[in-house]
Symmetry: C2
Subunit: 428 residues, 2 copies
């Protein structure tokens, strides 16, 4: 059977969903094209550790080509998706190339969402890409350096204040790590300022942090954050964000850096498909993750909105994306094996298996929530370390991350305290 | 003795010279201010390994503050030097601050020099900073990705060609590492192109590479480079460089990336001191590294031009900078101990101790030249590895680099194959 007569599966996005779909399809009798605008798969759950100088960028990213075996049926293209024509079964790319497909898997991933206040974006930094993580690292470390050479106490105070908006797992892990950077790592390294007086303010609209975790974990997380020195402001919806300023109902905070961890939305392209979407732009997929009236096209990961069999929404987390990627790849594999057209074989619905959730709160502390038990403290933290190492792609990365964690643990230092990418043109 | 009555030593630049001077002065009875525009000390000899995706940026850089003990007599400022007034004994900084000094040590380091053709700079990338190394990595890896999605054979050929100008140690190590990237690491990872057909062209005006090494090492290096697949063009002075084009006497080469490793010059500020300089702008210092008529001010490293006792020029290499830094710090220490003014005590001349030179040429090959013996092959390469690890600042960095090297050696992969910092505004 010549290659050209094989069915062509196009996968858009090499995140957790797309990459796992591609790996599953290595065993299938089809030609696969995997498109991503980056050359690397990114392990997003550890992005906050790059942002806070614990890990370096190659520790949590691996070139897509090197994660897939060579000379197999998967072709990787570094290109950007400009348009999807579902009726023509065609994808247009920024290079000018078109890809015609028999099956399509859309796993492009969510982007930072500002609840309709898109003008806030220019004053905040999100945490979705390596570029954003390195920008946070550069800006936060640079802020202390600028405070050291400043003679203006008001200016110093602003430089040493960081606001994190959003009390979900990203915001909690980020703010815990930022306060430890100031109080444990940078403390004592300056002559004119005392970095341990640096403020990290976590802002959450709801009455508790980690709202998706079962009680008493949100309360435990709050206590742990406050013990570290994070100022947590609950019931505090953001009214407005301007340059270096966050306005709450009864307070205005001046901060050199404002980190946005409050919400995500689907990328613009989901609006161009002529399909029903959620308020956040997520595609309302069928129970098998296919698009309505398009059994040959699927969407997976945090750009879809769907409910599991029990009626609970499937969360936009990496285990869900991985499971969806494998699920749709297996559906395609079955249809190819039986030589049927898309949708001809009755498909099982996607069933989300909740493996539990975890979040670290600084050194030696974490909270973990599983279906049958909950956990806090150092055991939860060790489990968090172990599970993240387990899922990290690449043997070298596992060893390297373990080394950095060990180093940081024993001497309270962080190996990636590097301000890079600062040029005359780019002062932020 | 209160702090304010202590003598103030200002060190400009935290490279090999400045950092070693600062470390030496930890033991002296003075107040030290160390100024650098970066927050990190950079291990420049391994910069080419960041540029070719072997190491990540924090592996070869360490925050200056964390290399110096806390609460000592050294104050670190991340700031840029805008002017030096030797007569007023004052340094102006970009922050607006002024530093008055009793002793000054200038170790600002050389920059890429284009022999009067400064318009070439915009078409080349130098290899002096982390930013430049990451830019080379991004551009070289991206070139292969662009070639993969291109349908134009001429364009693909250009994208897969890299020119390195300058056959000194930097150019030799860079071109060897680039050809290995193409032929060993990227080979087989693409469908539309064959990266092992990528060209790396090393251009040298002189009749041999590594001209400062004793025979037969230059010839051995040439053979090793050609065996790896580098096209070495000797006796080929560059006539002109424009966008993606290098013109030689009888040939024009089209290349996506042109890397400049042909020459350095002193930074502009050395021209503002009213002192005699060499053709490359290097300061013609006295025999003790002090500035003419300014016994309280010194210049060290590759921004000075001086001859040793035998009349041989001291080379612009890191061991010379380290030795100069320690030398001037000891002179200052002695004068402080004896409570004398600058220059009152007779000073010994700076004596350069040549520890030898080494260069690697790809996997398992190196050449080494010491005063009593010369060496090539795998023993030289192992020695190169060992010595570079030894001098790398920071225990964590040593372990991390060793890990990456081991990983690369056993599986021919490179851990830092990450294209980062690519944005819509920044396509280069």
């Amino acid at each position: 059977m010549s290659q050209s007569t094989k069915k062509h599966v196009v996968i858009l996005g090499a995140g957790f969903g797309g990459l796992n779909a591609a790996k599953q399809l290595l065993k299938a009798d089809c030609q696969v094209t995997l498109v991503d605008r980056n050359n690397h798969h990114l392990f997003q759950p550890l992005l906050y550790q790059v942002a806070t100088a614990q890990l370096s960028t190659p520790d949590i990213a691996k070139s897509i080509r090197s994660t897939l075996p060579m000379n197999k049926n998967v072709n990787v293209l570094m290109d950007e998706v400009m348009g999807i024509e579902l009726d023509k079964k065609s994808v247009q790319l920024a290079s000018g190339n078109h890809l015609n497909y028999d099956y399509l898997i859309i796993g492009l991933g969510a982007v930072s969402g500002y609840f309709g206040n898109n003008h806030w974006a220019e004053h905040c930094i999100g945490l979705k890409s390596l570029e954003e993580a390195v920008r946070i690292r550069r800006r936060v470390l640079h802020a202390y350096e600028k405070a050291e050479v400043s003679n203006n106490p008001e200016e110093q105070k602003k430089l040493m204040t960081t606001v994190v908006v959003g009390g979900g797992p990203t915001g909690v892990e980020m703010s815990g790590s930022l306060i430890e950077l100031a109080r444990q790592v940078l403390k004592g390294a300056y002559h004119n300022i005392d970095p341990s007086k640096g403020r990290v303010i976590l802002i959450e609209a709801a009455p508790k942090v980690l709202g998706t975790f079962a009680d008493p974990l949100p309360q435990r997380a709050l206590e742990a954050l406050e013990e570290l020195g994070v100022e947590v402001k609950l019931n505090s919806p953001v009214q407005n964000i301007t340059a270096n300023t966050v306005e709450l109902k009864d307070e205005t905070i001046h901060a050199e850096n404002i980190i946005w961890a409050a919400g995500v939305q689907a990328p613009q392209i989901t609006q161009t498909l002529g399909l029903p979407t959620s308020r956040g732009g997520q595609i309302l997929v069928e129970k098998d993750c296919s698009l309505p009236n398009h059994p040959e096209a699927f969407a997976i990961g945090d750009i879809v909105s769907m409910k599991d069999a029990a009626g609970k929404p499937v969360p936009g987390v990496s285990p869900a994306a991985i499971q969806m990627g494998k699920h749709v790849a297996k559906l395609i594999q079955t249809e190819l094996k039986l030589n049927k057209s898309a949708g001809e074989v009755k498909r099982p619905r996607f069933a989300y298996f909740d493996k539990g959730s975890m979040a670290t709160i600084g050194r030696s502390k974490a909270i973990a929530s599983f279906s049958i038990f909950k956990m806090t403290g150092i055991i939860a933290w060790l489990m968090w370390l172990f599970i993240h190492l387990l899922y990290l792609v690449g043997f070298k990365n596992k060893i390297s991350v373990l080394l950095q964690w060990f180093y940081a643990y024993v001497n309270f230092q962080r190996g990636a305290r590097i301000i890079s990418g600062l040029t005359h043109k780019n002062q932020n």
